[in-house]
Amino acid sequence: MKNPLEWIRERFYAEPDEEELFPPAPNLEHLPEPYLVRFGLHPVQEPAQVIGRDGEDGELKAIEKALSQWKSRHRPLLLAAEQGVGATSLLNAALPLLPQPRFFLEDKERITSREELLRALLPALGVEGAESLDGLAAVAFESPRVVIFESLERLLLRRIGGYDLLRDFLHFINATREKIFWIATINDYSLYFLDRAMNLGENFQTRTVSPLSDSQIRAAIEERNEGFETRFLKSDGFSQRRKRQLAKMDAAARQESLGEHFFEQLLKFAGGNISRAIVFWLAAAQGVMEHKVYLKAPHVPEPQESRLEELLVLEAVFQHTSLSFDEVEEVFHYSSHNGRALLDNLLSRGWLYPRKLRSGVQEYQINYWYLHELKKLLKNKLNRNIP
């Protein structure tokens, strides 16, 4: 006879099977290159292609309003956005609305010292030869400028002395805010940390880049898929009853029903994050033939139980958006735990993945497959009141 407590444990607290623990690998080899290009995770460059940011309450209007307020109050703007929600695309769309001279300092290079910061700022301000940030701040401009600084958190390393660069940059922004309209972006988790650790929000007027609505996500996905017909396949998780219902339908009704179910799952998984919607779509795409794409909703894994030390490393990655092995070692340098080994564990679980090289350094960031699930995990296990 089975122990009743064991029965309850199995029934309500069952461990998932091994194959359910990892995110499905997209069938990229079955998808033609032109199709994959449409579903890349790179930001949208064409302003017209950016979806859901216009309108009276939209982010584009908010940027215009912040600009007009800056003319009298000289307050820089901080855009806080969840990773993958489309902040860079938004900035690409906002650029034509901003007056010249303007400069978009994209998050393509690492900035880890005052010298690197100065080197990055010189072209942004159109100045040659300044030898220090103070010297650069003293330069006079003929007309006001707009400078967009992407990913403020790249100036941070969470350790003693690791806040100096960000502090210097904030001083620089304050020293130049009358002649430069600064727009900075930051990851929402970094803002949560920095707002509490060093009152970052006090230096800016802050606007959160909101998640896209379900209809906007669907429109964005369908736009990328334009020119291809969709064929929805039965999901592995369908019950016998559902399969029987589908068998009774004619082909068109079956496709419609399967399509609705597919999008329902996609939108639920995406939670307003376009990057999550794209990875779901790619994992669902079984192949493309004669301009028809075959889609089957993938299994969505839940993150496994994890040790406290792994969660702490994970949180550090959230706070910095991405970290290299060496940086993890530095953040946890006085810890008895091997940060590198912990990062390895997280990589092997598929919670993190390698980011495109920046300044020749390999960094790791949160896998979109787990973005919301891991946030929820940290919220619960580390008692964080993240939004």
């Binding site: 969470r158 003693i160 002395g161 806040y163 006085y334 008692n383 009141n385």
Partner: protein, 310 residues
Amino acid sequence: MIRKPLYRRLAGATALLALPVPLLAQGERSDSWADFIEGLKNLIPGSMEDAFLDSLKDNPGLLVEVLFALPVVLGGTYLLTQLIKWLITQAANRSNRHRVQWLRAYPIVRLVAWAIAIGFLLQLLLRDHWGIFILGLVIVVAVVSKDGLRDLLSGLWLTVERPFSVGDRITASGYYGEVKDIGLRATTVNTLDDSMVSIPNSFILNNAIANANAGHNYCMVVTELWLPIDADLRRARRIAYEAVISSPYLNLDQPVKVLVFDHFREQLATVIKVKAYVLDTQYEKLFQSDVAEAAKQAFRREGVYGSLVD
């Protein structure tokens, strides 16, 4: 599942034991007794037509009721409270954010379960003078062992008044640790060196108790950093502050204070007290150690210790 032959053997043994008892029985059959037997019949498979239970239902006898009802009700209540405790512990482990709230619920649920069970038994027992006799006996035993009674009443009072709950960090009788259980006789505290200390409830009720987190899952942690009296305070303060905000154990939603004091007793010194909240009381000492270690390394690296340390 209970097998019928086993049940029949148990019933037969009980009937043998109870044989002389009906002679002593004075009471009438009560509705709650009949309900209780009906409940037993529903619980035990295949016993709906059982003649023994039917006869017991119609002609109980007080001590037969006691023999049946006492072990079944007390045992059942005990099992039920253990099951609830297990479920609550599982829920607390799964939802760390609400861990303390879950653990706080258990003493109340347990009290209610026992109150219902004892109320039911009293209702059966107090029908006649035998019941009053037994109750009197219980009271006499309780008064004789009056420390036990005092602890019991204190335990009830602690459960109702709740100056602290399971999961809180308290200091009582010189012991500091996490409250693991508030029993009816004693409160069990798990100290930081992992000893389980059982403190009588009457002692707790009559003495001052310090509660570090008062029902929250976080608590304030004060870390003292000792420096030479002539240390560069500006630099030392910055290091101390950054050591705290960089600690992964910090509760970010609570304020951080860095205070500086002079110490003039045995030796001249500057003491930096860092007051911050740990994200979970379980990590209190890890947090303290983390801040102290990081700050000391930085003090040394940046020469804040001066000539004291090479």
